[in-house]
Amino acid sequence: MAEIVSLAEAVERAIHDGDAVAMEGFTHLIPFAAGQEVIRQRRRDLTLIRMTPDLIYDQLIGAGCARKLIFSWGGNPGVGSLHRFRDAVEHSWPVPLEIEEHSHAGMANRYVAGASGIPFAVLRGYNGTGLGTLNGGGGPVPTIKPIRCPFTGETLTAVSALRPDVAVIHAQRADRTGNVQLWGITGVQKEAVLASARSVVTVEEIVDELDPRPGAVVLPGWTVTFVAQARGGAHPSYALGYSIRDNDYYVAWDAIARDRETFTRWLDEQVYVGRS
């Protein structure tokens, strides 16, 4: 059964320097409050795993928490670049960032393999692309390999399983025994939690009973390590039924993140001081 604790305690106990951490939520339900708590607790040398690094990892990367990023699309959706991510890759600021890059389908299948307890997943993908070809030539993505189907002889692609130390997600609700319920765009969060050794789930509210919702994913409390209430914890992304996406924040982030000084000031004023 999940322990219901404060967000600070959940991060303190679940996430350690050097861990591989997957904070998931596909545009919807991105666990920003938890990400900023990790910055506040000054975790270092993390391997950050996420399909779309989005602003949450731009913040963590800029704050120097990450040693490595495993991802599939690193932009500010509808706006442009993630400037802190680019500065780390192009200029090693504030610290060098190793990257391991996949397509969305590759990342999604890697989580599926991790959740399924098998070492790899198979997909029809990567053939002819730079990520696939470079690998054949000793390229930069050791987790992508061609594989021959034992039944048809076709060449497909194997991607190795993701087995993070910790998954971090945000959900709409949990009950008092730590059963978690999320709905709307559910992304890859179920797979991320089941693939990981530990998990932290922040929720909008903790309720006595989870009444059914159409299309909801339910994670039984015994699959979750910590639940912490963090109302608005997905902001500037959103929690369907509780909040709407703050598109203005995504647009405004471009100017904050573009410059090291404005970003550092943002960190000091919005993250290190108090709770945002």
């Binding site: 596909f26 545009t27 919807h28 399909m51 779309t52 991802f71 599939s72 699309w73 690193g74 932009g75 959706p77 509808g78 706006v79 670049s81 993630l82 991510f85 680019r86 890759v89 192009e90 890059e101 996949h102 397509s103 969305h104 389908a105 999604a108 299948n109 989580y111 599926v112 997909l123 029809r124 993908g125 990567y126 053939n127 002819g128 692309t129 730079g130 990520l131 470079l134 390229g139 930069p140 076709e154 060449t155 709307g184 765009i185 559910t186 992304g187 890859v188 179920k190 797979e191 299309g215 994913v217 992304s237 959103y238 369907l240 709407i244 996406r245 598109n247 203005d248 995504y250 647009v251």
Partner: protein, 254 residues
């Protein structure tokens, strides 16, 4: 009515979609065009976004592929592994609608790195997202991208998504099940693959755009079809619908 080059491009791209098609939509220009098509001549167009929303019916332009409006108006919302494995990979989707940062004469797309080498690029772009599998598995692909000699190149710096590789036979050799890019729709006109070589050739121009202007804004030696079609200017109805959408988009994030 006067109109901008971007409006002409979006209208032209919308016209490429037929009613009743299923369309896997990338964000940005492709999303504007697909939504315009659904608002005008293709009300039964099925919009599918990689966030897992199937049959989304947005009434304003989403800023991201995960906007709540997409989930709330969809026929079905599925997980991300499911949208790629069950819906895209088997070739169920008629058309993939993609953008590009760099594209070459065989329609290969780069959204990964420009300049330098992969390990130390001059410019780091967002990366692959859903595009490689959209380009591989949709029955056909349409690319919507502004034309510039630096982004329309002989050979992309990095193949993020495969068009025709290095020419005829490559898609079959690579085992890609979709038939590949059928049109590149730009702010100057339309390029289509030569039936023999599969090299992209200028086959359509917007009113007032010259073939020599299109050649100047192409980084490879662009072939021009014998008699390029002059594509009709946007109708007032198309412009009204597009501006109504873009107005709501502007209001939704400013």
């Amino acid at each position: 009515m006067t109109y901008t080059a971007d409006e002409m491009m979006t209208v032209s791209a919308a016209r490429a979609l037929r009613d009743g098609m299923t369309c896997f939509v990338g964000i940005g220009l492709p999303s504007s065009a697909a939504n315009l098509a659904r608002a005008t001549h293709a009300p039964s167009l099925v919009l599918i976004y990689e966030s897992g929303t199937i049959g989304a019916k947005p009434d304003r332009l989403p800023l991201s592929i995960g906007d709540g409006m997409l989930a709330e108006t969809a026929d079905a919302v599925v997980s991300v592994p499911e949208i790629f494995n069950y819906w895209l990979q088997p070739g169920r989707i008629d058309v993939g609608f993609l953008g590009a940062a760099q594209i070459d004469k065989f329609g290969n797309i780069n959204t990964t790195v420009i300049g330098g080498d992969y390990g130390s690029p001059k410019v780091r772009l967002p990366g692959a997202g859903g595009a490689p599998e959209i380009a591989a598995s949709c029955r056909e692909v349409i690319v919507v991208v502004r034309q510039h000699h630096r982004s329309f190149v002989e050979r992309v710096d990095f193949v993020t998504s495969v068009g025709y590789g290095s020419g005829r036979g490559d898609r079959e050799r690579l085992g890609l099940t979709g038939s590949g890019p059928k049109k590149i729709i730009t702010d100057l006109g339309v390029l289509e693959p030569d039936p023999e070589t599969l090299e992209f050739t200028l086959t359509g121009l917007y009113p007032g755009v010259s073939a020599s202007a299109a050649k100047e804004r192409t980084g490879w030696d662009l072939s021009i079809a014998a008699d390029p079609e002059i594509i009709a200017a946007p109708t007032p109805a198309e412009l009204d619908a597009l501006r109504r959408f873009q107005g709501t988009h502007a209001r939704s994030h400013h």
